[in-house]
Symmetry: C2
Subunit: 431 residues, 2 copies
């Protein structure tokens, strides 16, 4: 736009599916100055299918993206409560609108037909604009349904969904040591937005929250940085704020049998609408990093059960060597302590239970004593919440790491399968 | 390390100045498994001088980095209060330790002689470890001194610095509309850590905070993402959370005359120790983005005085066209409104006053109504705080944008010049 005068009607139609990247190219060529409408088209256009950071991950797929797709570096997670007065029809309309918007944003397009760029002048822009000119940045948007969607805390069935409730979708048990804070858990709906640029993830949650205005509002939310796990063998193992590698033994996308057995809800596991989905657990785990940082290295490694540098099990080998829990040192004590995290969390000690972890580090300012409000926003995906609960119960009782952590937030969501092009997320639930 | 048994004494000395990048390379070659000490050496090693993301910005330089160096994408800012009982000698020791650690980290090395990797086993690691394997990511660390360093709130001169206090280093005035929150401003010392990877910025503040343990504690802190200004003509203008380009008219490093006139404190401006330094203002500006997002585009653009897409002034042209504040539209009203931000902030309306802005977007969760706690963490550098105060007074009185913003935090620091190799930050203050 070279002139501030609002353009008259009859502007050229927006090119279909023009990505932000495309927009940037046009701007460089001077075309953006000609008054072209440049935002995305509400018509549903599936992503090109070329997974990856530049092209984006396809939104319309058998499973939702953001689970076994490679973990990005940044997170904006938001839990929503539906507003009083929101009807079943409103809920369906919301999921439909969210689906269309998510498909557009994950493909690097804006939310509206006319986006933030040039009108219409007498309406609020349909897209808030702060992601204009940014890459899709590998954005994935993953939706989930909380237990209260099926039965409100007062026992009412607001949306006629009680009969569709999976038996497993009940509040997680109270674990020893839990110090859950009011308002930091639960929720009717959730959105996990992951990207390699935080502004792109924030833009997604903000615009989806805006679309929900009047129907649902954010209950709690969390930003994260520095993924604390790998979901692909192509990724290096990152470090959490204890300074240790995290996620060495995580389920990887390259293990399809384990993914099917441990992550995806299978036909027959429960109600049909959830087959191909998963269960998402979040735990906001505050770390007392100042205390940790004054702990001697020998003790840090004993607590984790791995070396700090290489991440090798203390029984020897390198990062990906299987731990030998029976191997003893010169003093006949096991090299991997009885209370070591790696021992207690290991599948061999948990009847084969594993999870796909996808958490993030967080720092949310500091407390009045000058200690960072820092820790791990734990996210795991599993075929049944019981996988998480059984392992967490063992950890909560015995893990030497508990001295340095405090679980302050907790939530569980059923994650429906992906939507096919033209459908909306969770549609089978309302059939 | 291939074995959990703590190594005996006499391990090979750590290679001097080995960067994290170097470490990563070694690990790939399998050498990290041989028990080599891999962390940085406390001996001061100046950065190579090759500015840029990969090589890092030189720490020892005439001016501190993080001011006119290209704005990175992520911020961790922390303000510290010195603890009761901290002496002048303790303060000097702290600044000396911070200098050495900052020089190491900005060069991509760890803090300690033996870092997080392999010992000594009976001491806490000197580096917390979460940045191992990460690139230097363009890290800059910039230190500043608050008014209370020179005179405590009770009027005492704790460190014998009252005679060295610059006349300009007094609390900023109260501006109309200020809604400053307790504990969200001020501070004796500050650290601005900027990097292109948030984990690298967080690692820096965390380790500097740890070094300060017992001497100083964090008073308040702020994470930010998505720089809201450019400090170099080589950078594209980014967007703030209003969705508008921000910083089009910012001072750029490529304007040395403007930098000298507006940013660096000159000899004769005040006490000699501050020549070559600057004044740093921070303002935590909460944006009511949910209200903004429901405002029509015409109104949004009228408030800013620029178009949302291109960022061109409403008087016409493209992004970098000078605004014409006298140009009127068909209705004889000026195309750029009398209360538009671009008009009120323009140097021509402020007797030539400019600032170098270096702020960041922030989202810190949400409030109890589900609104994002989001906004702009404003940072500006200027030769005198009066440059900021005069412009802010004009904005606070008249800016149409005030309806959508709330200033909740405020601080002022004197930023000393850079240190030469072997010296410490602010050394001339203690001469």
């Amino acid at each position: 736009m070279t002139d501030a005068t609002p353009p008259s009607a009859g502007r050229p139609a927006a090119p279909r599916g023009l990505s932000r990247r495309g927009l940037l190219g046009l701007a460089g060529a001077g075309i953006a100055g000609l008054g072209l409408g440049v935002a995305g088209d509400r018509t549903v256009i599936a992503a090109t299918g070329g997974a990856g950071t530049a092209a984006g991950y396809p939104f319309y797929a058998r499973h939702q993206a953001g689970i076994v797709t490679p973990a990005q570096d940044r997170l904006h997670f938001a839990s929503f409560d539906l507003s009083p007065g929101t009807s079943r029809a409103d809920l369906i309309a919301l999921l439909r609108d969210w689906t269309v918007a998510a498909a557009a944003m994950t493909a690097g397009r804006d939310v509206g037909e006319f986006g933030a760029v040039d009108g219409p002048y007498d309406a609020p822009p349909e897209d808030t604009g702060e992601a204009l000119g940014l890459e899709p940045a590998g954005l994935t948007i993953t939706f989930g349904f909380g237990p209260t969607l099926f039965e409100a805390t007062d026992g009412t069935d607001r949306f006629g969904l009680a009969s569709q409730r999976p038996a497993d979708l009940v509040d997680l048990p109270h674990f020893p040591g839990d110090m859950l804070e009011e308002g930091q858990g639960g929720g009717d709906l959730c959105i996990q937005a992951c990207a390699n640029d935080p502004q792109v993830a924030v833009h997604a949650v903000r615009n989806l929250s805006r679309i929900a205005f009047g129907k649902a509002a954010i209950r709690w939310s969390q930003l994260g940085f520095g993924r604390t796990s790998s979901t692909s063998t192509s990724q290096a193992t990152p470090r959490n704020l204890f300074g240790f590698k995290d996620g060495t033994a995580n389920i990887k996308a390259e293990e399809p049998a384990a993914v099917d057995e441990q992550v995806w809800v299978q036909s027959g596991d429960g109600p049909a609408w959830l087959a191909g989905g998963s269960y998402l657990v979040t735990r906001r785990i505050r770390m007392t990093i100042e205390t940790w940082d004054r702990t001697i290295l020998r003790e840090q490694e004993a607590i984790i059960g791995r070396s700090k540098g290489e991440g090798a099990p203390l029984s020897g080998g390198s990062e990906f060597t299987e731990p030998d829990f029976d191997k003893a040192g010169p003093d006949d004590a096991p090299l991997i302590d009885k209370a070591a995290h790696v021992r207690l969390a290991h599948p061999s000690r948990n009847e084969g239970r594993r999870m796909l972890r996808r958490g993030y580090n967080f720092v949310d300012g500091n407390d009045e004593l000058g200690r960072l409000d820092a820790g791990l926003f734990f996210i795991s995906f599993q075929r049944s919440p019981e996988q998480f609960s059984a392992v967490q119960l063992s950890l909560a009782r015995n893990d030497a790491m508990n001295e340095y952590t405090r679980h302050v937030g907790s939530a569980l969501f059923a994650v429906p399968p992906g939507a096919r092009d033209g459908a909306y997320i969770g549609q089978a639930l309302f059939a």
